[in-house]
Amino acid sequence: MRRDIFQAIADPTRRAIIALIALQAMTPNAIAEHFDTTRQGVSKHLRILTECELIKQEHKGREIYYQLEIDKMKEIDKWIEQFRKIWESRFDRLEDLLAQLKNRKNEQ
């Protein structure tokens, strides 16, 4: 199942994890030390973030490190920007239509 990225970043713990590993790649244990929740709880958040491709695993020796997928974070902003453009264009058309309607009423 494809996960919704908004859903992924809607959770405060997941946002804190993103902020944490934005600075440097970290092991699950090191990440868990920053939170009061259980290791399992943190693992679940890491799994969701990985499924959304917001973070990725990297194996270094026997350890797994999690690091941030910067491009994916940028992608969110890209979609939002394009959504904004659709509405901007729609509003401009409405403005043109309103101007036409006003003129028509004035002529009558």
Partner: protein
């Protein structure tokens, strides 16, 4: 194009909420009509190069608008907006979903809240979208992908028109 008119857009990613405010150089009566009448909606909803065709428009609490956005190639994408909390010329809400041509909705959808107010002959429309998903946004944008170019051509055309006047 209308640089003196307000257009605000912001997104609260944490709460999955989108805010938009746009000012129009027209009175409240006309703006309200343009948002609530099928015939007028179809003239501006686009976005270019899409054409919007409203099949059912039942603007009352519990009523709905069932419409398609049609691409230049004739491909149809269907949507449902279910109306509620209508307060004439002031406010209404919609619950928006993608749908198929037989009006089966794809749940969940998103909740839209529209507020209208007039001041000094200009009308402000404020829209808040709750529970928007990036997935839905992506799908909207996919449709609008071609549109990016179309808008630029429009702007070029407008520029050319202005230049013609000056010559």
């Amino acid at each position: 194009m209308n640089n003196d008119l307000l257009f605000d857009f912001s997104v609260d990613k944490e709460n999955k909420t989108v805010y938009m405010t746009r000012e129009f150089n027209a009175g409240l009566d006309l703006v309200w009509e343009a948002w609530t009448t099928a015939e007028l909606l179809d003239k501006w909803w686009g976005p270019k190069p899409y054409v919007t065709k409203t099949k059912i428009m039942d603007f009352e609490d519990g009523g709905r608008r069932f419409f398609a956005m049609v691409s230049p190639e004739g491909q149809e994408r269907w949507f449902i907006q279910k109306f509620s909390a209508i307060s004439p010329k002031t406010h209404f809400k919609t619950y928006n979903t993608f749908a198929d041509a037989d009006e089966n909705p794809e749940l969940p959808g998103s909740e839209w809240d529209y507020k209208f107010s007039e001041q000094n002959g200009k009308t402000k429309v404020s829209i808040t979208i709750y529970n928007e998903s990036l997935d839905r946004m992506e799908r909207m944008v996919e449709m609008g992908a071609i549109k990016g170019c179309a808008v630029q051509y429009d702007q070029l055309e407008e520029l050319l028109a202005v230049l013609k006047l000056k010559v």
